[in-house]
């Protein structure tokens, strides 16, 4: 639908194919810059805090957290949903835009997919550790066991979640890896040292770029793209079903699946924006990640922000319109006002109000403003999950079991740790893997008849 002449050139600077490869693999060929080492040091520090907090949890038990009988889900589930949400953008970018034949995806999809893989890995830590005895986590596998072949509950959304997230991780990782195979071959064939040739040669799986390989490669991309698009929608719908299938006021609503899926894509796109701005700035890839790319992401964010605003309003409206006293209480006395009202209003301001400034073209072309807004959106999405998880649980049907919740240092430590792990993953990605899909970018370099036809 949108050809390059409508959107502006996808690649600036009159490049040829060789130049594209050189520009994109420059960070792999050159030494790591100083900021990269500092960032890696900080990330390792954060990850160490996380590993210590995890060790402390395993050593002393869940009593080291502040979760209790009422608020049984605390920061762990908030962070789980937050990371999974961020992890959705990779697939949303790569796959939805692949199926819709949006060529501007080519400069961004690789980083988005990388982010997905690291974010889902971070997300998986939380439900595993939340089980309590993490060393028995394998009990959730449906295997014939010594307990008389007692099967897991196949009707439970929690089990669906486990299967869906494992599948999602595996599929995103394969989609990401196979996308990189032709690029690894490019690095292999340009490598000057034997070590590099051997390592990237191994990673390239013997790729040569023959028609036989490309034909099947295209087949694989579209098959994986088509089915993973369904998975994106189903994974986060299932996460929302963990909540919606309960009887807790504020959770028990049919709005949840679409609301969660859209929210996930919102936070993921915001994180993609954050990363792309970093990549552009520090690796000087402005010719590939152009203002036009950021503009397109910003427009999508404005649109999704409106949907988020509508969802928040719908929830409040339905609580009032249903006439259900428990729903009314949760929304009007425990969210809009009450102990956690800050979280509610912070969520509304960060997700539904502030992104609206991106209607202005001036803001959309200001990289600093976009960077700040993308961080605000991610913060807002975290508030949203806190708002959903904690407010509903803290004050349910029985006033005798009402309580408040704030995390302990251990819970905060685990969250900080996942930020460290994610950052380490992303930094390794910056250093050792082509950040932009070289072969795909080449295919949109000269939008002649050939590239337009397929």
């Amino acid at each position: 639908m949108y050809k390059a002449d409508v959107r502006g050139p996808l690649i600036l600077g009159n490049k040829d194919y060789r130049q594209i490869t050189s520009d994109i693999i420059a960070p792999i060929d050159n030494k790591a810059p100083g900021w990269w080492k500092v960032a890696m040091g900080v990330a390792f520090l954060l990850a160490s805090i996380g590993f210590f907090a995890l060790y402390y949890t395993v050593r002393y038990g869940l009593g080291t957290w502040n979760v209790n009988n009422s608020v049984a889900w605390g920061w762990e589930i908030i962070n789980f949903v937050w990371w999974i949400g961020i992890g959705h953008a990779g697939t949303a970018f790569s796959i939805f835009l692949l199926i819709l034949r949006q060529k501007w995806r080519t400069s961004i999809n690789r980083a988005a997919e990388a982010m997905t893989v690291f974010a889902v890995m971070c997300a998986a830590i939380f439900p595993a550790i939340h089980m309590g005895r993490v060393w028995l986590a394998f009990y959730i596998f449906p295997y014939p066991n010594t307990r008389g072949s007692l099967w897991v509950n196949f009707n439970s959304p929690l089990f669906w979640d486990f299967i869906a997230i494992s599948a999602y991780l595996l599929i995103s990782a394969s989609f990401w890896y196979f996308g990189m195979v032709p690029d690894f071959a490019s690095i292999r064939d340009r490598a000057k040292t034997k070590l590099k040739k051997t390592i990237y040669g191994f990673l390239a799986f013997g790729w040569t770029g023959s028609t036989k390989e490309w034909l099947r490669y295209e087949g694989l991309s579209y098959v994986l793209g088509g089915i993973a698009a369904v998975l994106v929608v189903s994974v986060h719908s299932i996460v929302s079903t963990d909540f919606a299938s309960s009887v807790i006021p504020g959770w028990h609503t049919t709005l949840f699946p679409p609301y969660f899926v859209v929210g996930a894509i919102f936070s993921g796109f915001a994180m993609v924006m954050t990363l792309m701005i970093v990549i552009r700035k520090y690796y000087h890839l402005e010719d590939y990640v152009t203002d036009s790319h950021l503009n397109a992401i910003a427009k999508i964010l404005v649109f999704i922000s409106l949907i988020m605003g509508t969802a928040y309003t719908t929830e409040v409206f339905m609580a009032w319109y249903s006439g259900n006293p428990y729903e009314m209480f949760t929304f009007f006395h425990n969210r809009l006002t009450g102990d956690y009202s800050f979280m509610f209003w912070a969520m509304v301001v960060c997700n539904a109000v502030i992104p609206q400034v991106m209607w202005s073209k001036k803001v959309r072309s200001n990289t600093t403003a976009l960077f700040i807004i993308s961080l605000i959106i991610n913060l807002g999405m975290w508030y949203e999950r806190f708002n959903i998880v904690v407010t509903s649980l803290s004050k349910d049907y029985l006033p005798s079991s009402w309580t408040t919740y704030s995390p302990t240092w251990v819970e905060i430590g685990i969250y900080i740790g996942t930020i460290g792990i994610f950052t380490i993953g992303v930094l390794f990605f910056f250093r050792f893997v082509p950040m932009i899909a070289i072969s795909e970018v080449k295919s949109v370099l000269k939008p002649t008849e050939i590239t337009e036809k397929h």
Binding site: A167, I171, T208, I227
Partner: protein, 158 residues
């Protein structure tokens, strides 16, 4: 693009191309070699097999092997089997497709590969002719390729 001119030249003169190596997928090159793939059919078969397999497994565990009475609900709780079937089907199709790709395109770790010109994965579109099957001698092919704008034409023993 010169590659297309080259392909047209070989077709008009009835030369047989052995293989074309490109830095990115070029459909015209794939068509010129009459390459066809049944990838989608394979994926459909994996999907169909997975749906039948997963539903049968769930029926067996929930109804035959260890039926559990959840407040009188039917043990064959079909609607709640749908999501898990969907996800496992997607997983099966993915794994099946990856293995099929690896097998058919012969892309796997540690593969000994044949690449006539290393620039093919970077910047050059390489057309390879085998003297035995090309249907013409080196001079005739070289002349036709040069005329259609080839940047280099050379002979090499492999």
């Amino acid at each position: 693009m010169d590659l297309l001119a080259g392909i047209e030249a070989t077709q008009s003169k009835n030369f047989t191309i052995d293989e074309i190596y490109t830095p990115y997928p070029v459909m015209e090159a794939i068509d010129a070699l009459k390459r066809k793939s049944r990838f989608t059919i394979a994926a459909f078969i994996y999907g169909a097999a997975a749906v039948i397999g997963v539903l049968s497994f769930l029926y067996w565990t929930s109804v035959i092997d260890w039926p559990i009475n959840y407040g009188g609900k039917p043990t064959n709780a079909f609607p709640s089997f749908i999501i898990i079937t969907l996800v496992l089907t997607i997983l099966t199709v993915t794994l099946g497709s990856l293995f099929t790709f690896s097998l058919r395109a012969k892309i796997y770790p540690g593969k000994k590969y044949f690449l006539p010109d290393e620039r093919a994965t970077d910047e050059k579109f390489v057309m390879l002719f085998d003297k035995k099957t090309a249907g013409a001698g080196y001079e005739a092919i070289a002349a036709a390729m040069k005329a259609s704008g080839a940047s280099e034409v050379y002979e090499k023993e492999f």
